[in-house]
Amino acid sequence: MWFITTYQPVSLLSLKVSTATSTGGKSLLLPTPFAFKMALLDVVIRDGGVDLGEALWPTICSGQVAVRGPERIVVNNTFTKILKPNRSAAYDPDTGLFPVMGRTIGFREYVQWQGELQIAFQADSEAKDWARWLTQIHYLGKRGGFIQAVAPPTQADELPDDFTLLTQDNEAGFALDGTLQVMDDCASDVRFDQVNIYTTTKLRVGSDRILRHVILPYRMERSSRGYTLYRRL
């Protein structure tokens, strides 16, 4: 059963690609399966506690995710002030503090969607609260990248044709003038303690956090120093 939730963009989003650094924050156009599954796990834990999150993690981890993106997407390039760890921080006698983070600037991309984003999630087990949890996801990527579910999710047995499945390799072909994105997902055997950000268990890129090359049905329409505009095919 697919749960299809429609989200409206509220603010500009920044969902850094997995290879981005703190000074070079390139952003993806649409949420990845990994980002979506982490957001869903987060609301499940907030709603029902860690035990419920751990119990449902195998279902979330192996769930299928597909998207139907907005009509147009603009990526804004900008520089912002950031704090970066300063490993050689020395005691400041004027303030009596250790300035462990130094002020610097970093490149960031912020994405604006024109139109709604639909995310389809297929879980292989019954859980009556998926609808409630899916509507509680309110941001993706960097905090402040707000989205808003506009209604309870609809249910469908088959994935509608205009969705792009992100959790399987596309063998049916792709749009030649589409846009390539490297999207991350969880490997099928990733354990809860590996995605728990408060443990030291490693989540290795490539084997646990797998990278998939996805051609999104978007064509670059215009670009300049400050922005790139994409339109859905």
């Binding site: 500009l12 804004n76 520089f79 250790f98 002020r103 912020y110 604006q112 409630r132 309870p152 400050g226």
Partner: protein, 321 residues
């Protein structure tokens, strides 16, 4: 008494002749922050914007003053509004090195400071990587296409004796001569969005326990809501010494949920945003047991009344632990 789990504000504000957020400068020309967005008409617009980081800085500064005035606990770094927050506190650093605390203990300690609790932090000292996620979140404030304009204005730092231009580098560094420069000013309607996760005040996300009693949590929520209101009343961004914004009007909606449910947030870039917030609240109430409430405001005074009522009567929702 109103229990608040989540609270959001969607506001359309008219700000005139401001330069609250700038990206940098080239020569003597300051470049204000501009973003490209697609409007409701499907066309791309280059509009002035204020980053969420700047809005949060404005709110955090108000919270700092309120906390000091009310005697809410602050760590040594937050007592002087240091951006590093508790990470820069020598006692905290000493404790991390000597005790080698667990992440639960680190977050418990962060929660002792009002600013670290409400605004968040990331502890990297001692090979740790322990985040405290912010309770309050801001999106970008974006100019509404066709309703915002930006221009550059010519200014002079006048020197009556301007014929005597110093030739020595050392003398020029004093910046004593006449100087011309260009400054931006923007005016128009802006879409502002923010969200407060009230249930997380004093809550350790790892141990899933509250470290503060109900009274302390309520005091922090009241301070947070008051600082949010002040951020609208007095937006302390950049260049206010000569370009303090004219705040002409603010309208929109405050939404809040009384239990686990999202407070709907729709961008005022959508011209029917207030109507849609009501519709979304209605739809969400079907699956969230009527927990979502919406209060519209048509002016800054009405927003003040709504927030005033909530900060007097509101209590942060407590998760079952």
């Amino acid at each position: 008494m109103t229990t608040i789990y989540n609270l959001s504000i969607s506001a359309k504000a008219i700000l005139n002749l401001h330069s609250l957020n700038n990206e940098g400068g080239e020569g003597n020309q300051t470049q204000t922050r501009m973003v490209n967005i697609i409007g409701e008409d499907g066309r791309m617009h280059n509009v002035n914007a204020i980053s969420g980081d700047m809005l949060k800085h404005i709110q955090a500064e108000h919270l700092y003053h309120i906390s000091r005035e009310r005697g809410l606990p602050l760590c040594a770094a937050c007592q002087i509004f240091d951006a590093n927050r508790m990470s820069a506190d020598p006692d905290f650093q000493q404790w991390i090195r000597a005790e080698k605390p667990t992440p639960v203990q680190v977050v418990d300690r962060l929660l002792t400071c009002t600013l670290d609790d409400l605004e968040g932090n990331l502890i990297t000292e001692g090979n740790q990587s322990v985040p405290r996620k912010s309770v309050v979140e801001f999106g970008w404030a974006v100019g509404i296409p066709e309703a915002v304009t930006t221009d550059q204005y010519f200014h002079v730092k006048y020197d009556p004796d301007r014929r005597e231009i110093p030739t020595e580098k050392a003398e020029r560094s004093g910046n004593l001569g006449q100087a011309i420069f260009h400054r931006p000013a923007s005016s128009g309607q802006y879409a502002i969005v923010c969200n407060v996760e009230a249930h997380r005040i004093g809550y350790n996300d790892i141990s899933q326990k509250y470290t503060l009693d109900e009274e302390e949590r309520q005091a922090r929520l009241a301070a947070l809501l008051e600082s949010l209101l002040y951020a609208f009343v007095q937006p302390n961004g950049a260049m206010r010494n000569t370009q303090n914004p004219h705040i002409v009007d603010v309208m929109g909606a405050v939404a809040y949920s009384t239990g686990p449910a999202p407070a709907p947030l729709v961008s005022p870039l959508n011209s029917r945003f207030d109507q849609q917030i009501g519709q979304i609240a209605q739809a969400l109430n079907q699956i969230h047991e009527g927990r979502v409430q919406v209060a519209s405001f048509g002016s800054l005074a009405e927003l003040a009344e709504i927030l005033q009522a909530l900060l007097k009567d509101g209590r942060p929702h407590a998760l079952t632990v």
